[in-house]
Amino acid sequence: MAKMNLLQAINSALDIAMAKSDKVYSFGEDTGAFGGVFRATSGLTEKYGRHRNFNTPLVEQGILGFANGLASQGSYAIAEIQFGDYIFPAFDQIVNESAKFRYRSGNEFNVGGLTIRTPYGGGIAGGHYHSQSPEAYFAHTPGLKIVIPRNPYMAKGLLLSSIFDPNPVLFMEPKRLYRASTGEVPEEEYTLELGKADIVREGKDLTIVAWGAQVEMAEKAAEKAAEDGIDCEVIDLVSLLPWDIDTVAESVMKTGRLVVTQEAPLTNGFASEVAASIQDKCFLYLESPIARVCGLDTPYPLCHEKEYFVDHLKVYEAIKASMTY
């Protein structure tokens, strides 16, 4: 075990994957010898050469097009998109290509070796275009997996699983936690199951569902609620596609109440999917409406970031409202 931050955990996963198979490639804007603007890929060129870890020209649609082709050839392609905000030029390659590659060919071809890494989320004074949480844009796409770790331990195990999973995976990294989140992480290889939610705190009064950087807010809010004698269960969804509806449903059948929190704007976010599914599965168990605590329906603002951000206080208020409904 070693103490690692989230970036180091990701770097360690990449290192292990590249050592494990010659067919693993890592690339993106500035990800070569320089190691990426966040340094997630640092040291990889030195260790594995400039043909295994390299810079791309500045073109996200090309990065994903190239990655799809490389994966279809039987390689493991790990493509970094520098910021989640810049993934949209690659939207067609991901949604129309990666996700449908196997299905449309009747399994003659697939891009299972593809993993897309991208930092996402706010709280870093990044304004409109360095703060977005675009996961919901992808969650409407059968064929894709979406995975979001909440801490270094999860990041390493999930990234290793994602890289070698036989399906294309969008792996979103909460950049606010890159250096802020540290913890004990095994130095050797290990994997964590995709598609499985994680109960990070048990409780009996109310369920909070979160993912990525919001798990911290959920936990903090749960602590604060505990002071009021409210016993919250906190579930980290971990995978958004496919997502572990059973774990959430079981929890809600126990607690009777659900708060879902996400950084992204409210409308048509993934919290809406969770709420829609759970009201269906747990209709007779619900004691109050499922609450969504989300960003406002505006672009991500710079100067009002603190106000816009979904912090633990907002989650806490939603808990109280739900308890007193």
Partner: protein
């Protein structure tokens, strides 16, 4: 280094604007329109057997295309898209490749696929979306694909396969397997952002890929010159990317073959990506959904009929005495009969079982998908008459 290059730049002290005229790219032609060889032209190294295989494939595709356009009119298939007039481009280039090279097509490269050995039954199974279709009936007609023949499944979104070809070729280069990728696309698709990404990246990474642009004058109704691009076609872009580039007469199977053979050598031996622009003409409508009389003249079409790649090649072969008129006719009749027979057989084969609906979304169906399928099957059992294609076989699946 970023700076080295700049030091080498020639300096001028008077402003001079260049434009398209600074780079006009000629077109390679070996066979003239009448099937005779240009004086002084060196023929590619093609023996009788190879020449006849190429010719056979052209003839087969011509028959298949004409027959299936008719089948669509008869309502037997929903849609078809022919390569009439462009057979030399795909077949001449495919013939110059190794069978292990990957082919990524747009949707008008049935010739390359037939050359690789896709059978008439396999074509029909795809066209009729029956349960033998390798693609499991999931895509529209002409979206062929076959891993065994290294022919990537066609998909409708244009140009997406071009950067994919760069990536595929990168893997081939790293595997050092001596193989390359050829990627076909239309001059219309070359306007997409993916084209730019693909060629620029190939030039940076130096991968064994051949970009083959079929410039057939139209993208559906949009004429290429002046409405699709303002310059001298697609080839100059290759030069701008610093890439080996050549323009050929796409209706001259020898020019196509020769350029592709040399391109393959550059790609495989030197890891040089190559751009080939094949000039041709889409003789039929864009697809069976299209009527070209809305946007071009019969005269224009007629002027291109004179350049037909099939009759041009046939004239050469007959002159060369590798073929007689009679052989050509007999072969034609034989192939036509085979196409008809396969068509009749394929249209009787049932559609894939409903259980196939949720397969291949992921490597294995998720619990959610299984539940959705079960719900759907229960619904079909309730209303069998509303879903006649699948209802009768619903409980004979393979689950």
């Amino acid at each position: 280094m970023a700076t080295d290059k700049k030091h080498q730049l020639e300096i001028v002290t008077e402003p001079q604007f260049l434009d398209g005229s600074a780079l006009q790219i000629p077109m390679l032609q070996i066979l003239k329109e009448d099937g005779t060889v240009h004086k002084g032209a060196k023929l590619p190294d093609i023996d009788k057997e190879l020449a006849l295989k190429m010719f056979d494939t052209m003839q087969f595709i011509r028959i298949l295309d004409e027959r299936m356009i008719a089948a669509q009119r008869q309502g037997r298939i929903s849609f078809y898209l022919s390569s009439l007039g462009e057979e030399a481009a795909s077949i001449g280039s495919a013939a110059a490749l190794d069978d292990g090279d990957m082919i990524m097509g747009q949707y008008r490269e049935q010739g390359a696929l037939a050359y690789r050995g896709f059978t008439v039954e396999q074509f029909m199974d795809q066209l009729f979306s029956n349960e033998r279709d390798l693609g499991k009936g999931r895509q529209m007609p002409v979206h062929y694909g076959c891993a065994a023949l290294n022919f990537m499944t066609i998909a409708s979104p244009l140009a997406t396969q071009i950067p994919q070809a760069t990536g595929y070729a990168y893997g081939q280069k790293m595997d050092k397997d001596g193989k390359c990728t050829i990627c076909y696309f239309g001059e219309g698709a070359a306007s997409e952002g993916d084209f730019h990404a693909a060629l620029n990246m190939a030039s940076v990474y130096k991968v064994p890929v051949i970009f083959f642009c079929r410039n057939n004058g139209y993208a559906i109704s949009t004429p290429s010159q002046g409405e699709q691009y303002g310059g001298d076609g697609i080839a100059p872009r290759g030069v701008a990317y610093g890439m080996k580039t050549i323009r050929v007469d796409g209706n001259d199977i020898f020019a196509v073959y020769q350029a592709t053979q040399l391109a393959r050598k550059l790609a495989v031996e030197d890891n040089e990506p190559v751009l080939i622009e094949g000039m041709s003409y889409r003789m039929a409508g864009h697809s069976t959904s299209d009527d070209p009389t809305g946007y071009r003249t019969r005269d224009e079409e007629a002027s291109w009929r004179a350049k037909d790649p099939l009759s041009r090649f046939q004239a050469y072969l007959i002159k060369k005495k590798w073929l007689t008129e009679k052989d050509a006719e007999e072969n034609f009749a034989e192939k036509k009969a085979a196409v008809l027979a396969a068509l009749k057989e394929a249209e009787k084969i049932p559609a894939p079982h409903i259980d196939e609906l949720i397969k291949d979304v992921y490597d294995t169906p998720t619990p959610q998908l299984r539940a959705q399928l079960e719900q759907l099957k229960a619904h079909i059992r309730k209303y069998p008459e509303a879903y006649p294609k699948t209802a009768s076989r619903i409980d004979g699946g393979d689950k």
